[in-house]
């Protein structure tokens, strides 16, 4: 299993732990997080009940490491970048993505967190299949 992938939903305890134990040197003035959840979208008289995520696990490792490198190069004030993405079944309302960025100051923490999420959407080899309440499913492109 990749260091960046979590089986099933991202557990709130993982998030709490990551926030609690980051910045052990106490030199980060800003910590920005993004939490992505599965929406219960309603379309054509059906509702999303879960998303089944799959990934090219070996490639996720190299791409995620590359995203972190790109962020550190782009934002000189960023101390660290952490990201966790679900694979497998994640129910509506549960968390499928967690990103945490530490920086010396708020502006770069917020901007770097935002860019990390965009790079994940663009580059991380992950796919999602929406599962509906009428037992149908659909592969989503975004």
């Amino acid at each position: 299993m990749s260091d960046y992938l979590v089986n099933g939903p991202v557990n709130p305890e993982l998030i709490t732990r990551q926030i609690s134990f980051c910045d052990e040197k106490n030199d980060s003035g800003g910590i920005s997080v993004f939490i992505g959840r599965v929406r219960a979208d309603k379309t054509d008289s059906k509702t999303v009940v879960a998303i089944d995520y799959s990934a090219y696990e070996e490639m996720v490792n190299s791409v995620a490491a590359s995203i972190k490198e790109d962020i550190m190069l782009e934002f000189s004030d960023v101390r660290s970048v952490k990201l966790f993405h679900s694979i497998g079944n994640v129910k509506a309302g549960e968390i499928s993505l967690f990103v945490l960025v530490e920086a010396g100051h708020r502006r770069q923490a917020i901007d770097a967190c935002s860019m990390t999420v965009e790079l994940i959407k663009e580059k991380l080899p992950v796919w999602k299949r929406e599962l509906y309440d009428n037992d149908s499913h659909e592969w989503k492109r975004q």
Partner: protein
Amino acid sequence: MEIKVLFFGVLTEVTGCNVKYYANVSSVGDLRLRIQDDYPEIVHYNYMISLNQQLINGESALNNGDEVAFLPPFAGG
């Protein structure tokens, strides 16, 4: 020689498999043609190709043990 081919996302349904092995293919173009012969419906889908976990554009030679993946547009998050 043997090439390991991986399918992801919707392409697992198009091909009915996650992994397949091909022998005697010398290039990515050659492999694409073989796969289109086996799964004609795949031409209706958009996908990228990676060689040993690196995205590639265009043609590339293949060697024994290479891993080629057919990747629909990413949809993480």
